[in-house]
Every structure is written in structure tokens, then in C-alpha cells.
């Protein structure tokens, strides 16, 4: 249990939140799937940053373990997502996400 508050924590949280909000906003506003993927990356990285900051704060290695896990996850996700995007482009000849609404009710 850390007694004193490290000055980096609040800054870290602020940075991570800002990053996450940026990613989310981009995700909502962008229609290009590639850009959306990049935004997703930003969001994941914001979360990963949060792990690192928290890990440093508590003096615990778990945060860094989780960071590595998130990075791996992101890599896997990107691989699959890009494959999907490729398929999507192949079929619809566009990368506009709004065209991808076949599941509408």
C-alpha cells in the first residue's frame, strides 16, 4: 500500500482518459473503417497506459503484465480486423462503415 501519492498518477489518468476519449470520438465520427481501426488502437492503448500507470502507482508488476497482454491482444485484433476489412472491401468496393448495415432490423 503506497502511503504518498505519486505526482504522476493524476497526470497519467488524465492522459489515458484523454487518449481514450479521442479514440472514442474518432470511432464515432470516422466512416472509414481503416481510421476506425486506428481509433480502436488508440482506445486500447489508452487502457494499456492506464494499466502501466496504475501498476507504477501500486508498485505492482501486474500492470505491466496486463500491458503486454493488451498489446498482444491488439495485435491479434488488428490482424483479424484487417482481414475482415479486406473481405469487406472485396465485396462492397468501399471502406465506408455506413454501407455495412446488412444486419439492420
Amino acid at each position: 500500500m503506497p502511503i504518498e501519492t505519486a505526482p504522476g498518477l493524476e497526470a497519467g489518468i488524465l492522459l489515458a482518459s484523454t487518449l481514450f476519449c479521442l479514440g472514442l470520438a474518432g470511432l464515432m465520427m470516422r466512416r472509414n473503417v481503416i481510421f476506425m481501426l486506428m481509433c480502436v488502437e488508440i482506445c486500447t492503448n489508452a487502457a494499456a497506459l492506464m494499466f502501466v500507470v496504475a501498476g507504477a502507482h501500486w508498485g505492482n508488476a501486474d500492470g505491466q503484465v496486463m500491458f503486454i497482454f493488451v498489446v498482444t491482444l491488439a495485435a491479434a485484433e488488428v490482424a483479424i480486423a484487417l482481414a475482415l476489412v479486406l473481405q469487406f472491401y472485396h465485396r462492397k468496393h468501399t471502406v465506408d462503415i455506413d454501407q455495412l448495415n446488412d444486419l439492420r432490423g
Partner: protein
Amino acid sequence: MQGLLAWVPLLPLIGFLILVGIPLFYRREPPESVITVIGVGSVGIAALFTAVATAAVFWQTPSGVVNIALWQWMQLGELKLGINFHVDWLTLVMLMIVTGVGFLIHLYSAGYMRKDPDFRRYFAYLNLFIFAMLTLVMADNLVLLYLGWEGVGLCSYLLIGFWYKDPVNGTAACKAFIVTRIGDTAMAIGLFLLFYEFSTLNIPELINAAGDPGADREIITIATLLLLGGAVGKSAQLPLQTWLPDAMAGPTPVSALIHAATMVTAGVYLIARMHPLYTLSETAMTAVAIVGALTLLLAGFSAIAQSDIKRVLAYSTISQIGYMFLALGVGAWSGAIFHLMTHAFFKALLFLSAGSVILSLHHEQNIFRMGGLYRKIPFTFLCFTIGCASLAALPLTSGFYSKDQILLRAWEFHQGFNSLWLAGVLGALITGIYTFRVLFLVFAGSEGAASRHCKDANTPAMTIPLAILAILALLGGLLTPPLQAVFGTTAERHPAAWVEGVAIAMPLIGLGVAWQLYRREKKTGEQRSRVTQFWFSGWGFDWLYDHLLVRPFNMLARLNHNDMIDALYKGTAAFSRQLNTLLSASQNGQVRWYLATFAAGSILFLALLVAL
């Protein structure tokens, strides 16, 4: 010898089965002669068996009773019913009428229906009809009686609608069945009540149980009234009489069968059979008498206004059955059965000779287009005249004896002058009027429009039954059935001579009035005043029922054609569907929209979490 009696109803049944089953074995339709032999023969042998059994078993013993147990029908707790026959003199009289007159009508039909493409079907129905009626009169329990009762209804339905291609016949047939079914349902409820009270439906046991002083009179009254409901339906009495005039749609011998030998007499038989119960209830007796009195008058007036020869006879049947009900209501049990018997003779004669007229005139039934036929078809004229005389109860004919007995009994029963007797006497007058009006219009005077094409259509198969029936109608009054053992004897009391005189005079006055009426109508042709139009329509009963029952029911059926309850479920389904469209609007397939709502939702959730 008793076994012979069991064969009596079975023979027509066998005839029916053979006639129906023929297509199973032969591809082609058998010739008419074969069908005639089977159809007429089965009833003929049944009649013969009845006669033999009567001569051998019953002739010397008026109190003789034969019970024939065929097999156990059902046995559930106290409900013990057998397919058992009970034959006493009352049954025997009915048997003789049904098989005897039935046989003559069958024989006549063989001539009347010749060359009809559905000859076989006709005789099959006819045999089934006789079987049902025989079961009815021989049954030893009320449920078996009900079997015959409904069977008779079915056969009348089939025969009235025999020429099925004309929808009018079909409607008349349906009407007959449904109207009588209404009465039957009342009767069925009466059976439930009787079983509830006495735990048996066997007729002799029931009569024993009801005779017990501890029996609940109120229930007996209700039960007998319900049975009366059934009788009223089958016998075409008020208020269920409307089916009978329409039932003329069937072939004419069928009308003869329905009116004379079977069907409409069933109600009279039922009440006579259950008479010990009726005697226990004054209300029921009065009800029977009033129904009879009213019906005989109403139907009589209607008969005066008719222009169709068969409808005149139909109304006259209703009226004559009214006499029988009147007789039952005043306790003249043997009088009622006696009148039933003579009525069977002369009504069969009348219908069959009317059938000859109709056939000779190539299916013309309007009496205003007839006239002067006494020269063209003298034999038919003779038969019809005898029938009319007997129907109008001219002295020395069979109808006279039976009707006289009823009127005297009505006089006695209420100790002197009373409204029931008056109704009977008035009825006698009316009977005279409508009977001779028809006779004059059809046979007397100058030739009508249809008479010119008249060609005597009688074949031997038709003349023989006519001749026999004519003799019976004349002399049948001598054949008083020995019914004392069934109904008990009543002390003979002779009322004042003028009472007797009135009864004799009424038909003669009627004859005179009919002559006047005929003279007038011959001049004016077919036209009716307001009153006679009302009579013509059968006192507006059809109109009344049509507006009171048929139309509301049809409307209700049409309204509810699609089942209101289903609408409830359909409504639920529609509601779900609406909800579905509402919610599926949010499912628009836009990932970014989902994301936005997701983000908004998360923020909202977080905000709530913080706030609380």
C-alpha cells in the same frame, strides 16, 4: 311366435341395408323391379308378421304383453338400458298402422316414383323410415324410443329433401329437422330429469316409480311438459308446427307416410305411452289439451286459405293431430289412438289420391288450376271423396266414430259445456269447410287451366293401395282397438242428445259453407283478403320466427364469423408486431450509431453510479 315380432323392425332395416349396400357388390344400378321387391317386400313381410303375431298372441288376450330382450345396450351405474322391445296392444295398433299403411304407401310409391333416377335411394330411405318408426313404437325404454324418434326425424329430412337439386326442398328439409330437433332437445332434457328423479328410463319401471305416492309431483310436471315439447315438435303442434306445411316439398307418397303412418303420430304415441305420468299432473294435461285445441283451430283456418292441394292436406293433418292432442289432454287415451288409426287411413288415402291427381296433371298442385276432374279420373275422384268424407267426419265414415268419441269425452271430462269441447266442435265445422272446398275446387264444375292436359296416371300398383285404403277409411270405424288393458276403462256416460247432434251437424254445415265458398272462389279465382292472407301464411308464425330467431342468429353468426376470441389473440400478435417494428428501428445496422448509444449509455451509467 314372439320372435316374429322382433323381425318386424328388423326386416325394413335389412331392406334398407341391402338397398344401400348394392353398389358395393354391383357396379350397375339394379332394375326397378328388383328394388321394388326388396323395398316393398320387406315392409310387406313385416306387416304380415305383425298380423300373424296379432292373431296368434294377442287376439284373445287384450292384456297380453310381450317383452323381447335383444341385447344389453349400456349399463353405467344405474343407467341400465337394453335394446329391448315391449309390445302391448297400444304398440300393436301402432305396428299395424305403421306396417300396414306403410306397406300400402310403399306399394303406391313403386308406381308413383317409376322412372325416377334415384329409385333405389328413395326406397332405402323409405325402409329406414319404417324401421325408425317401428323402433320408436316398440321401445321399452325412453332412450331407445329416442333413437327411433331421431331416426324418424332424419328420414323425414332425407325424404323431404329427396329431390335435392332444388335448394327449396333442401331448405324445407333442414327446417323440418331443426324445428323438430328443438323439440327433441326439450325431450332429451325431460329424459335427463326423469332419470335424475327416478334413476331409470325403462318405461314400465318409470311408470311404476312415478306412481309411487312419494314421487315429486313438481318434477313430474316439468318432465311431462318437456316431453310434451318433444311431442309438439314431432307432431307439428303449436308452437313448432311451422315445418310441416313446408315439408310438402318431398314426393307425395312421402307426405302420406309422414302424415299418416309415421312421424307426426309419434308425439301422440309418446304421450299415450307415458299417460300414467300425465294423469299425475293436471298442469301437463291442461297444457296438452290447450295445445291441441289451439292448434286444431289455427291450422283449420290456415287450411281454408290455401291454394296448394298438398298444403291444404298438410294443415288438415296439423289440425287433426290437434284433435288427438285435445283427446289426450282430456284423458281420452283410446279415443286419441283410435283417431290416430282412422286418420292414418283417410289421410293416407287423401295424400295418395292427391298424388294421383298431381301426377295426372303433370305436377300441377294449385287447386285453382284444377276443376272438373271427376270426369277425367273417376277412380281417383271416388277415393278422394271417400277420404274427404272421412276427414270431415260425415256420419258412418271412420273419422266420424273417432272424432265423435273425442268430442264426447271432452264434454264429459269437464262436466258439460267447456271451451275445449267448443274448440273441437268449431274445428269440426272448419274441417268440413276446408275439406269440401278442396274437393269441389279440384273435381267439381268446369275444367281449370291444368285439367285439360289431364291423363290418368294410375297404375295397378297405385290403384290397389288406393282401393284398400278407401275401404279402410269407410269401414275403419268398426275396428275399435281393444286398448282397455293399456288405458283402463272409463265408465260410459251418454250426454244429452243435442251434444251428439251438434257433433253430427257440424260437418254438414261445413259442407254447405264450403259450397258457398266454392261458388264464390270459382268466380273470383285465387285472391285473398287481409284475413285470409294472414291465415294463408300460417298465422304469421314463419314471419315471427324468422325475425325473432333465424335472423338474429344468422346475424350473430355472421358477426362472429371470425371468432372474437381469436381476435384477442390476433390483437396480441399485432401488438407484438408493432413493438417489434418500434424496437427494430433502433437496430439500424449502423455500427457508429450503436457505438454512440453504447457510449451514451455508459456515461449515463457512470454518472448514475457517481451520483448515487
